[in-house]
């Protein structure tokens, strides 16, 4: 588990992180979401031991991460701007990582390179941006570390490749308990891969929730009532996050279980009532509007 407690970081006069606390469980995919300048990369760099926090603590499986080999051996960090040696080939990079990560899977690397259609002996500087990102991910996976930090790694991937990588992650998670931590400014990208999401804004965590739990406890229902006033009975006592009326059609986002919300609305004998699936965006919008943020401006 990665524990971040009350971490703050300042760069001269700019507060990049302010008392950030988050826990990342093993065996789950953690998504770190935020706009540009929110502090995602800073937090990732602190968690991977590149930067030292001004205050607070970061531990990986109980080991403080900064300048601690025992913690760093558990982590592979893919920076938003990955570095490769000048004129190096994937083979050269693999050799370097092999000397540093004792568990590096040489054979696996060869197979994955072939699978993804990347040439091992071609100069990396001739790769496209997307190919470089793929290479970084493959190197990270083959390093066989427990945690894999990806900072805006998915941004340069095409949809097919993104799907392939997601499958790869899933496979690694199942087979050896890999815990990816993915930073992105794109919620849609993380939706179908993350189990746990943290929203970072202006150096602070706005929310950090289990995605399924968020989805389980927030639902959107559309309904049409027979008589005026029926909606009051239907929605009485319900924790409503958002309510919209267009003509006779009510669209309500409320906190609660699906069955509970539906049952309560059914008791008002509506003409029509249906629970709709919520996207991650909509969940976030609802949750953050409650605390006063217009998430649309933040994330989209």
């Amino acid at each position: 588990m990665i524990e971040v407690k009350q971490v703050s970081k300042k760069f001269e006069d700019i507060k990049a992180l302010d008392q950030v606390s988050v826990s990342i469980q093993e065996g789950s995919v953690f998504g770190l979401v935020g706009t540009n300048g929110a502090g995602k990369s800073t937090l990732m760099r602190i968690m991977s031991g590149v930067l030292k926090a001004d205050s607070g603590s970061v531990s990986v499986d109980g080991h403080p991460v900064y300048e601690n080999l025992r913690a760093k051996e558990l982590i592979f960090y893919i920076s938003d701007e990955a570095y490769f040696f000048p004129s190096a080939t994937p083979n050269d990079m693999e050799q370097y990582y092999r000397s540093v990560y004792p568990g590096f899977g040489h054979d696996r690397f060869g197979k994955l390179m072939a699978q993804f259609g990347l040439e091992e002996k071609r100069k990396i500087k001739t790769f496209s941006k997307g190919m470089k990102k793929q290479l970084s991910i493959l190197l990270g996976i083959c390093a066989n570390t427990k945690y894999l930090f990806c900072d805006e790694t998915f941004d340069g991937l095409d949809p097919v490749m993104r799907q392939a990588v997601k499958s790869l992650f899933a496979q690694e998670m199942t087979q050896r308990g890999l815990t990816p931590v993915i930073a992105s400014h794109n919620l849609r990208e993380l939706e179908d891969i993350c189990d746990y999401v943290g929203l970072l804004h202006r150096g602070g965590i706005l929310l950090a929730r289990d995605l399924d739990e968020m989805k389980f406890h927030i639902h959107k229902i559309q309904c049409v009532f027979r008589h005026e006033g029926d909606e009051e009975k239907a929605f009485a006592g319900m924790e409503i996050l958002q309510k919209e009326k267009r003509g006779s059609l009510y669209t309500v986002t409320a906190r609660g279980t699906r069955e509970g919300i539906l049952r309560q609305v059914q008791e008002a004998d509506p003409l029509f009532a249906e629970v709709l699936p919520l996207s991650l965006e909509e969940i976030f919008i609802s949750e953050t509007e409650v605390v006063g943020y217009d998430i649309k401006k933040l994330v989209f």
């Binding site: 001269e12 760099r45 930067l51 051996e73 982590i75 920076s79 701007e81 000397s99 540093v100």
Partner: protein, 743 residues
């Protein structure tokens, strides 16, 4: 994986990345060593074997200048490039996210930087030796010297390379790293130089020769000096160099430790910033700013001869602003930063102004320094224009170092009469008002503060005939105060023309002064191996046996101890040179290289008697006048007149410009020459005691021996001491007209 195996794996990986560096080093060393060696050897067809051997050995030492350049450049390149990853955020993220300790990374990059120099050097040195050893007469010596130079270059490479690494640790981009390296390399010497400049300009009593700048504070300058001393050291010279190499290695080790510590503390976010440690910025700013502002201020002060105070204030403010702007732009990497940083700008300005004030107003009392009697142990006293003929060679291993008369006195003298010394110091004057005559001193007027020299240059020159019993030419007085706490304080003062000689003579006449000034007085009879006598026309061996030589030495020593300063005002009878080593047969030998000539004065009657007993005659050569002619030339009179009175006045007076004319030249022989000679002095004898015996500047005489000059050795160049030109000569050369013009 063990840390050791990881270490070597990382080394191997780093070498792959820095292959370009290795190839570059191999190429450069290849040209400097084996190729150049082959060039030296290939000329063997036109040389003897001995010459070829000498050429090879010379290349090992002289070719080291090339190796110095290679080493210096290589150290900077390897130091900056090896740790250049710290200047890129991408690279820092890469390296610092790896499960590798910073210490390991540091060790890998540092060691690689050393190997990238050493391996190509060694390989190419071995090739050089293979090519040249066969042609060398002493291959063992070649091997010895080649590896000695390797050791020297490697020691300084380690130092300069580590300084470059330190510069990278303190900075975050390439420009700042290179500037940082320059600062670290030269800061110590530069600060000393600024301090020296200020002392020299503002303090009249500053003795610049004794305030040496310790150039070894700069690793680069030290490298140059040490390299030039290596050849001598290999010949068995002073062991000082080897000690210095030890210090160089120690310094490299200390700087290495500091660099490692800084690397451990260095925040990764420093990449791409000029200064890696924000807290160090104000400190660095002030440290860099103050000497720079003071240098700039001094530049403006010395720009012109007048309005010194105004230029000083202008220079201070202007330099302060410019330096601030420059430093801010470098440190903040932004032009608009020149409008920020007012606090440390103010601090630097205040410090600079205070330091300037210390010098301007002599707040430390430098010029008024005199030790109290209870702290005074002894002093060494020397006069710039007295005893300039005295010197000594001091052995430094198998070579000798030259010491002039001031050095000799400072080394040997322990004058203890505090009261008389105080009286002497009370005679010295300030030159601030520019009242003194043009300074002529030895070593030279540079020993005066620059203000003194400027004042002297603007003052009216003196063409006076100084009175006997007074200082004839303004003279620098050098004093070393030796205190009871073993501290030595050096000062120089100014004795102006016309100062009475009485106090000076009291000091001169003491045994302490004489034995400190004249090494001859402590020469033993056993040491005296021979003697030469110079009568002004020729130098001859006195031709005495050992007993006669001993007697002559004792007599000279006795009479020298009895000399007064007033005796020095006499025209010498001749010069004696006692030798400690005999001339080897067949070898060229210059007697004066061994020991100095000592003047023999007319008052030294016993010495003169011994010389005459040996068949020698001194100046003015009474027995040699027949057939001699004296060609007196006063043509400089014309130019002095023009200089003082202007061309128009000179033309009106009737003085004309004409070298070859009867107007300014006269030839004397017979009785007139006999009358003239005692007033003349061989010109070579008049330079050493300007303080009491100066020459008339406007004329000289060529004493022709045996007729008209055809070769230089048939004439003796003579001068006339002030006030001793016979009247008939003055009349003949129209000196009266000149006097009318200038008075």
């Amino acid at each position: 994986m063990t840390s050791k195996s990881l270490f070597f794996k990382l080394i191997r990986q780093d070498w792959k990345q820095r292959l370009w560096c290795f190839v570059l080093a191999m190429t450069v060393f290849f040209f400097v060593l084996p190729v150049s060696g082959a060039v030296v050897v290939s000329g063997a067809e036109w040389r003897t074997a001995e010459q070829t051997s000498e050429a090879i050995m010379s290349y090992v030492s002289e070719g080291s200048v090339l190796l110095l350049a290679v080493t210096l450049t290589g150290a900077v390149i390897c130091g900056v490039s090896g740790f250049a990853f710290l200047q890129s955020r991408k690279k820092v993220d890469f390296y610092h996210s790896l499960p590798v300790r910073r210490e390991t990374l540091f060790a890998v990059f540092y060691l690689d930087g050393v190997l990238l120099y050493l391996v190509p050097y060694l390989i190419n040195l071995l090739l050089f030796l293979v090519i040249t050893a066969g042609r060398c007469q002493d291959p063992g010596l070649l091997l010895h010297d080649a590896f000695a130079y390797l050791g020297m270059h490697l020691a300084y490479y380690l130092l300069i390379y580590t300084v470059a690494v330190l510069a990278v640790m303190l900075t975050g981009n390439l420009l700042a790293s290179l500037l940082g390296f320059c600062c670290l390399s030269f800061y110590g010497a530069a600060v000393q130089a600024v301090n020296w400049m200020y002392h020299r300009y503002f303090y009249e009593t500053f003795w610049s020769d004794k305030a040496e700048i310790y150039f070894h504070a700069s690793p680069v300058i030290s490298y140059g000096f040490s390299l030039s001393e290596l050849s001598e050291a290999l010949d068995g010279g002073s062991g000082q160099l080897w000690g210095r190499i030890g210090w160089v290695l120690l310094a490299a080790a200390v700087i290495l430790a500091v660099s490692l510590l800084l690397y451990r503390l260095r925040p990764s976010e420093s990449a791409e910033k000029a200064v890696a440690f924000p807290l160090s910025k104000p400190v660095l700013y002030v440290l860099l700013s103050v000497p720079s502002v003071l240098s700039g201020t001094m530049f403006f002060i010395t720009l012109t001869a007048g309005y010194e105070t105004l230029w000083m204030i202008f220079g201070l403010i202007f330099s302060w602003l410019i330096v601030h702007g420059f430093l801010q732009i470098i440190m903040e990497s932004e032009f608009k930063a020149i409008f920020r940083g007012r606090i440390h700008m103010g601090a630097a300005g205040a410090v600079s102004a205070v330091i300037l004030a210390v010098f301007v107003f002599d707040l430390t009392g430098y010029d008024s320094y005199r030790p109290t009697e209870d702290r005074f142990a002894s002093a060494a006293v020397a006069f710039g224009n007295l005893n300039e003929n005295i010197y000594e060679w001091t052995d430094v291993g198998e070579v000798s170092a030259y010491e002039n008369h001031v050095d000799v006195a400072m080394k040997r003298m322990a004058y203890t009469d505090y009261q008389t010394l105080e009286e002497l110091l009370d005679l010295t004057v300030s030159n601030r008002a520019g009242e003194t005559a043009e300074a002529e001193s030895f070593p030279d007027s540079a020993d005066l503060s620059m203000k003194e020299r400027e004042a002297a240059e603007t003052a009216e020159g003196s063409d006076s005939e100084g009175a006997e019993g007074t200082v004839r030419t303004g003279t620098v007085l050098y004093v070393k105060f030796s205190l009871k706490n073993r501290k030595e304080v050096y000062r120089s003062y100014w004795l102006q023309e016309g100062t009475d000689l009485e106090v000076i003579d009291r000091i001169f006449s003491t045994a302490e002064f004489k034995e400190g000034s004249y090494p001859l007085l402590t020469m033993t009879e056993e040491e005296a191996q021979g003697a030469y006598f110079d009568n002004g026309v020729e130098i001859v061996d006195v031709g005495l046996d050992h007993a006669g030589l001993a007697r002559l030495l004792r007599t000279v020593q006795k009479e020298y101890r009895e000399l007064t300063l007033y005796n020095i005002e006499e025209i010498p009878y001749g010069q004696l040179n006692f030798l400690k080593t005999r001339q080897e047969e067949g070898m060229p030998y210059y007697p004066e290289d061994d020991q100095p000539y000592y003047y023999i004065y007319p008052s030294m009657t016993e010495t003169i008697a011994l010389l005459e007993e040996a068949g020698l005659e001194g100046w003015p050569l009474s027995g040699l006048n027949a057939g001699y002619e004296g060609v007196v030339d006063g043509s400089d009179l014309y130019y002095y007149a023009v200089d003082r009175s202007g061309m128009e006045a000179v033309e009106q007076s009737g003085l004309e410009e004409d070298y070859i004319t009867t107007q300014y030249q006269r030839v004397y022989s017979g009785e007139q020459l006999r009358e003239l000679l005692p007033a003349a002095v061989p010109g070579d004898w008049l330079w050493a005691n300007d303080m009491v015996l100066t020459a008339e500047s406007w004329l000289h005489m060529d004493l022709m021996i045996g007729g008209m000059p055809e070769e230089e050795e048939t004439s003796v160049y003579c001068r006339f001491p002030e006030g001793r030109v016979p009247d008939f000569v003055r009349e003949d050369l129209r000196y009266d007209v000149y006097l009318q013009l200038v008075n």
